[in-house]
């Protein structure tokens, strides 16, 4: 009984990921019919390049949501790290010291979020919403309404030029982080803890899992990775403003939820998130090829976010009704 229950759940997940794969294939076919350049290596790498910072953060966001929390402050942490980098460079610091300062800012943001969520036990939704406002505010304090650019050539090259063969540095970092994420979540003990806590925090605590430590670790990791992504964004754009990376959390959370990760925690896989990332990137690429503006694309992502939760909900309602009707029929037939 236990066994078949587990199988049914896995089967559902497979179907969700299968659906994503199907949608991805359809998108790719439509796009490649639209433009002969679409399937070219440079266009594909370029597609990744445009969203690389967001998809890097999506990996850690997946882990946090599976853990039953959320981090709304990531985009502001990205902006703050980029702002700290730009500010320190402007103040005459060496580039390496400035990068380090940006990363330290990320660690501090993660520590602060983690402290209030894991230690004091406040809901992550409110804490990171406050973080979203506060870290963005700090970036504004540093840069006011100006922009700072003029980074060394090698730094901008890191963000813009190919690093190994045709592949830029950020893409390599993404692939590495994704691999680490898969190992941590699906093949290591800590991954089991992340799921268990996401399913039921209290049960996890009574089973001897150090809930506080796991949550703290995840929020610090989120801070560091978001800071890294912010620095990569600064390198790619070549200049930083107070509103750099503003609103990125929408895309990032959409990628994770579309990947089949439950907003209530405890379920989801990185394979699904990977497929969702590919789907969104190719969809956006296709919309750009069809001359649909960035603003409309954001609207489409908003709809996708809603649908990615609505569809499983509706499916569940229908299945529950169907099961109820079936059991009702059984009762009636057994009575007669």
């Amino acid at each position: 009984m236990e066994h078949s229950g587990m199988w049914r759940r896995l089967g559902w997940l497979k179907r969700w990921e299968g659906l994503l794969l199907g949608l991805l294939i359809v998108t790719v076919i439509i796009n490649s019919l639209q433009s002969p350049f679409y399937l070219g290596l440079s266009n594909q790498i370029n597609t990744f390049q445009l969203f690389i910072e967001k998809i890097i953060v999506a990996i850690i966001m997946a882990l946090i949501i599976i853990n039953g929390e959320i981090d709304l402050s990531v985009a502001s942490v990205m902006g703050l790290a980029a702002a700290v980098l730009a500010y320190t460079v402007d103040a005459g610091w060496a580039m390496s010291a400035a990068i380090l300062a940006g990363l330290v800012a990320g660690v501090l943001c993660g520590l602060l979020n983690g402290f209030f969520v894991a230690r004091i036990g406040l809901p992550s939704l409110v804490v990171t919403l406050a973080g979203l406002i506060m870290y963005r505010g700090m970036a504004r304090i540093l840069l006011e309404d100006g922009s700072i650019g003029g980074f060394p050539d090698w730094f901008e090259a890191l963000g813009q030029d190919p690093f190994v063969g045709p592949i830029p540095l950020a893409l390599i970092l993404f692939i590495l982080l994704f691999a680490v994420g898969v190992v941590v979540l699906h093949f290591a003990g800590i991954g089991r803890y992340i799921y268990v806590i996401g399913n039921n925090k209290e049960v996890a605590r009574y089973s001897g899992v150090n809930v506080e430590q796991v949550k703290m670790g995840l929020f610090i990791a989120s801070g560091v990775i978001a800071a890294l992504a912010g620095i990569l964004l600064a390198a790619r754009l070549g200049s930083v403003r107070g509103n750099t990376a503003e609103g990125f959390e929408l895309d990032i959370i959409t990628m994770v939820l579309l990947g089949g990760v439950s907003i209530f925690g405890g379920s989801g896989t990185l394979a699904g998130v990977g497929l969702a990332i590919l789907l969104i990137l190719n969809l956006r690429n296709g919309m750009s090829l069809a001359n649909i503006t960035g603003n409309t694309q954001t609207g489409v992502v908003g709809i996708l976010l809603i649908l990615s939760v609505l569809i499983p909900n509706l499916a569940q309602t229908i299945r529950e009704r169907w099961l109820r009707r079936r059991t009702a029929v059984k009762v009636i037939t057994s009575e007669t």
Partner: protein
């Protein structure tokens, strides 16, 4: 001590400490900024409170039910632009028609949120994060990169924000401010005395239990979202009157200020506690900070958001750490006074109910 506990409720302590913080802030800025206490500052604060508090009242209704509406900034922007273009093309429209149009438009957008949350069972944070982007997209598409300009609007709406209800010397009580105070009082009465208002608290305290005792949870949540949208639409109308020039970024980020005001005002983000008076005081604190920072030479106005975030964090932490303890203390002494034996099962646990 018991007598004190009988007279004062923890929520009243919360409101009182907020008043104290506002007074302290005003005294502090008064000592820092030259010629701080003047009528112009008061007028500026009340004008920005007028718009924010209308949104805060709507947000409070939603937050009381353990939901949140992040799309209100986009609703304000969209209705302000929509009504602005209608009014610019047809200057003859009656003021009441214009206001009703804005309220209706807002209610429609709020209804979309409400249906998705209550019947689609999508968490409010996800729904409204999605519609925050979606409504902004509507605005950009609808505007076709045009903007509403003051000169195209009729005279009455341009004069509306400076119209006075009463004035004492330089000190004006603006009509728009009086309206919004009336809305605060009206909804305070609604949530205190009407069954619908009490239901909001019941649902927010424990949605499962509210459902089990037969309260119409879905309908009530939906109506809270609709009213929140309608009030944001009204705020959009006021926004149009105040600024005149409406571009596609109108109302951008207002939701964060409103959520900040509501949370600082003692409305529990997990539902079930809070009042409109608290939301009003929270709005006052935030508007005072904003207007004072603009004129404080030591720090720039760019400090506003950082302080806002810090304020939310402090308010939520204080609520969780201090107020919960006070509440437990009060509840215990209440039990002792009525001489009910404290069974282990009814002992109040810290942390409260969790879904």
């Amino acid at each position: 001590m018991r007598a004190v506990r009988r007279l004062v409720r923890p929520e009243q302590i919360r409101v009182f400490s907020l008043v104290l913080v506002i007074v302290l802030a005003v005294v502090f800025f008064g000592s820092q900024i030259e010629n701080y206490y003047n009528a112009r500052l008061f007028n500026r604060i009340t004008t920005s409170v007028a718009i924010l508090v209308v949104m805060a009242v709507g947000q409070t209704l939603v937050v009381l039910t353990r939901n949140i509406d992040l799309s209100i900034g986009s609703i304000v922007g969209f209705t302000a632009y929509f009504v602005g273009t209608q009014l610019a093309t047809n200057n003859e429209m009656a003021p009441l028609t214009v206001a009703l149009l804005a309220v209706g438009m807002g209610a429609l957008l709020g209804a979309v949120n409400g249906v998705l949350v209550s019947y689609g069972r999508i968490p409010a944070i996800i729904t409204t994060l999605g519609t925050l982007a979606l409504y902004r997209t509507f605005l950009v598409e609808y505007s076709d990169s045009q903007s509403v300009i003051t000169s195209a609007l009729p005279q009455w709406i341009i004069e509306l924000p400076t119209r006075n209800f009463l004035s004492f010397g330089d000190l004006d009580l603006r009509t728009m401010f009086i309206w919004s105070l009336l809305i605060v009082v009206l909804f305070q009465l609604v949530v205190t005395y009407l069954p619908w208002g009490r239901r909001l608290y019941a649902i927010g305290s424990n949605p499962e239990a509210a459902h089990l005792v037969g309260l119409p949870v879905r309908g009530t949540v939906l109506s809270a979202f609709v009213i929140c949208g309608a009030l944001s639409g009204l705020a959009g109308f006021m926004y149009l009157a105040r600024f005149g020039n409406i571009t596609v970024v109108a109302g951008l980020g207002l939701e964060l200020q409103v959520v900040a005001a509501v949370v600082v005002g003692g409305v529990n983000i997990f539902g079930g506690t809070g009042s409109m008076i608290g939301a009003l005081l929270g709005t006052f604190l935030i508007a005072t900070l904003e207007q004072s920072l603009l004129r404080w030479v030591i720090v720039s106005e760019f400090w506003r958001d950082a302080l806002l975030g810090l304020l939310i964090l402090m308010a939520v932490t204080a609520d969780a750490v201090i107020l919960e303890r006070v509440r437990t203390l009060w509840a215990r002494s209440e039990l002792q006074m009525t001489e009910i034996e404290v069974q282990p099962t009814v002992e109040i646990q810290e942390g409260g109910y969790e879904v």
